[in-house]
């Protein structure tokens, strides 16, 4: 009788994976904090996890940002118990649309555009994605477009803020991740 030694399952990870994991962990925590924050206007959230996505994009690359973003969406949905609920899809499509917008605009000349522009574009993309999916799936009536101005204003304000915060983070922690 041959007894085979059980080898422990190991996944080889590289430094990039570690960065992704750390960044995603921070984004998830921020998402969950935001989930429990009271909001003065329904549906209007600051999207603080966007800061991490922006940080990742500038510090690393778009591919890493995609990973962090998607991990954040799935894991935080599982943790707050909304996986596969309408809010999950709103969140997912918001994130995807935000990444698409970042993909288009990531090559903006650094000379004229700071990370604040990216923050606005990410927030704007997020809200457009959510509206798109909300219109075709969650509330299939045109009446929800009446809410668009409100969400656009909030995306502008929070976009500027998140861009600015990202910028400060990038300046202070030049080579290390915040622990």
């Amino acid at each position: 009788m041959v007894v085979r030694a059980m080898t422990p399952l190991t996944i080889k990870t590289n430094t990039e994976d570690h960065f992704i994991a750390k960044l995603a962990a921070i984004a998830i925590v921020l998402s969950i904090i935001e989930f429990f924050l009271p909001s003065p206007i329904p549906g209007v959230k600051p999207g603080i996890a966007n800061i991490i996505i922006l940080y990742t994009l500038v510090k690393f690359n778009l591919q890493t940002a995609v990973w962090v973003s998607l991990i954040r969406v799935f894991v935080s949905s599982i943790l707050v118990g909304s996986l596969m609920a309408p809010t999950f899809f709103l969140s997912l499509f918001g994130a995807i649309s935000s990444l698409i917008f970042l993909f288009i605009f990531q090559k903006l000349p650094k000379k004229y555009f700071s990370v604040i522009s990216l923050g606005i574009i990410a927030a704007f993309g997020h809200i457009l994605g959510q509206f798109f999916i909300a219109r075709i799936w969650v509330i299939p009536h045109d009446s929800i477009f009446n809410l668009l101005p409100l969400f656009l204003i909030s995306s502008l304000i929070f976009g500027v803020l998140s861009g600015f915060i990202t910028d400060t983070l990038l300046e202070h922690k030049t080579n290390r991740l915040p622990n």
Binding site: P86, T87, F113, V138, I139, S143, N146, V160, F164
Partner: protein, 128 residues
């Protein structure tokens, strides 16, 4: 003043351009959608059902069955609001009264939308 300084240092010309472009877009949309008169009818929409339209010119408590349960809509003095809702956060109730054309309250969890119309778009044709 010191706190604003790093912000000003960060902002670049292109950022300002993008901010103004978005502000222009927002103002354009607001002008189009919110600058509207007081409406005559309330449109109640449930997922994938034709809208139900009732007059605002009455005192009424309307009960609508949604995804989670019954939502109540009050109509008084030409205004409407959600007065009862089965959802947990009750955002729809906190939104308060609406009476201007295109004003809308969405109850996402219960999938009921109410909006004000002037009556012209509520049907395709009139039988007389």
């Amino acid at each position: 003043m010191k706190k604003v300084l790093p912000f000003i240092k960060t902002v670049k010309l292109g950022d300002v351009l993008i901010i103004f472009m978005l502000m222009g877009l927002i103002i354009f949309i607001i002008n189009k959608s919110w600058n509207t008169p007081i409406g005559q009818y309330l449109k109640i929409e449930k997922n994938n059902e034709p809208p139900k339209i009732i007059s605002l010119n009455q005192i009424k408590e309307e009960e609508i069955a949604g995804l989670l349960g019954d939502s109540n809509i009050s109509i008084v003095d030409g205004k409407a609001r959600f007065s009862k809702a089965p959802c947990t956060k009750k955002y729809c109730i906190h939104q308060g009264w609406i009476n201007k054309v295109n004003q809308t309250i969405v109850c996402l969890p219960n999938q009921i939308t109410i909006s004000i119309t002037d009556g012209s778009e509520s049907y395709d044709s009139v039988n007389y």
